[in-house]
Amino acid sequence: MQNTTSSPRLLSRTSIITISLVVLSLVVSSMLPAGFFALLWDRLNVFATVFLGIFVEAVPYLLLGTLASGLVEVFLDRDQMSRWISHRPVAAAVGGAFMGMIFPVCECGVVPLTRRLFNKGLPLSAGIAFLLAAPVLNPIVVLSTASAFGWGQMLLWRMGVSLIIAVVVGLVFSVEQNAANVLRPVLTSSHDHDHSLEANASFSEKMRRALLVTADEFFEMGRYLIIGAMLAAALQTFVPQSSLLAIGSGPVTSVLVMLALAILLSICSTVDAFVALGFLGTFSFGSVLSFLVFGPMVDIKSIIMYLQVFRRRSVAYIVAIPFLMSLLAGILFNYLQP
């Protein structure tokens, strides 16, 4: 507590702390080896480049996702949603996963869109399956995977395994009857401020509202994208890939390394196939497949974004089950396919 009756001091506490810190940093810097600051500056440059790389790559997709979210908010009502989506668990999970084929969103854009769909009454199982499947099954990712690996095994297994994982996780969540146990409170309460529209609003008015929703959502999700991208860039800068790759031998450890890389690199699912192609010479088919399946579902930036939509426990399941299933798929492929 501040003592208001204390006698006047020559230097304020803040000044003393500042001067102490400056002196301490001068002492520490004089003890550091020569070239330390040059190295640090070099690392910071790498950090900035990696961060901007992730951010520049992801922003257009986040914009696409938030635009889709805005359009859903304005043009789709709850009645339509309940007509289209079955409420039976298996059908909802499968339907949700296949819904991912329609929306051209990667893992950054899918989070705001799923959140909006939950608000419109999408069943939990369908929403979770959509959240996990859309970044892999959407047309852009299918095309980019095909252009990297051809219309062959890798594409088919990537889509197939992702679909199975998405449906399984969706089914697990279908047992939960109360959405409030899964979603964060902001979603389960009404959040319809100012975006509501009269039924007879004109198309241009609806578009205006959709764009306003898009902007709000972009800012809300954008900050988590930035935090996630910063974390991923920091990890990439200070935990070199080479150290991970060095331990990546063996049918199990190679899959674990690729799963760790998927989280670490945080590459947008629309471009990860080209990165994975480079690993194919070094890593087995199964390891690269696990990278391509797990990466779009879970990475640093998507975990941060999931935490804004789901309760922590739910996020733990959304991360753990796909992780184990991808690991299993990778190991099985490593053993079965030479």
Partner: protein
């Protein structure tokens, strides 16, 4: 934070991001960060950012004209706009 001020911050940041991306694209520096084949998507992003900024500016003008200030709370500007201005 008053809604009109919040919207102003949003609009300025969107414009800032738009200029940031446009300058990178114009100078050819986009390819430092992404593959050439994804440049068209970034161009789409630039256009969408400009459209969003324009929509927000129009919205600010509208709310000034109608003087119907809605003071409901949004997240603090330091959290949303602050973090989103990082890349710029």
């Amino acid at each position: 934070m008053p809604k009109r001020l919040y919207r102003s911050f949003q609009a300025l940041l969107l414009l800032g991001l738009c200029v940031f991306f446009a300058s990178k694209a114009a100078s050819g520096q986009l390819t430092y960060y992404i593959n050439l084949r994804f440049v068209p998507l970034t161009i789409f992003g630039i256009i969408l950012l400009a459209v969003l900024a324009q929509t927000l500016f129009t919205e600010i003008k509208r709310s000034r004209q109608s003087e119907q200030e809605d003071d409901h709370e949004h997240a603090p500007v330091s959290q949303t706009c602050g973090s989103c201005s990082c890349p710029c």
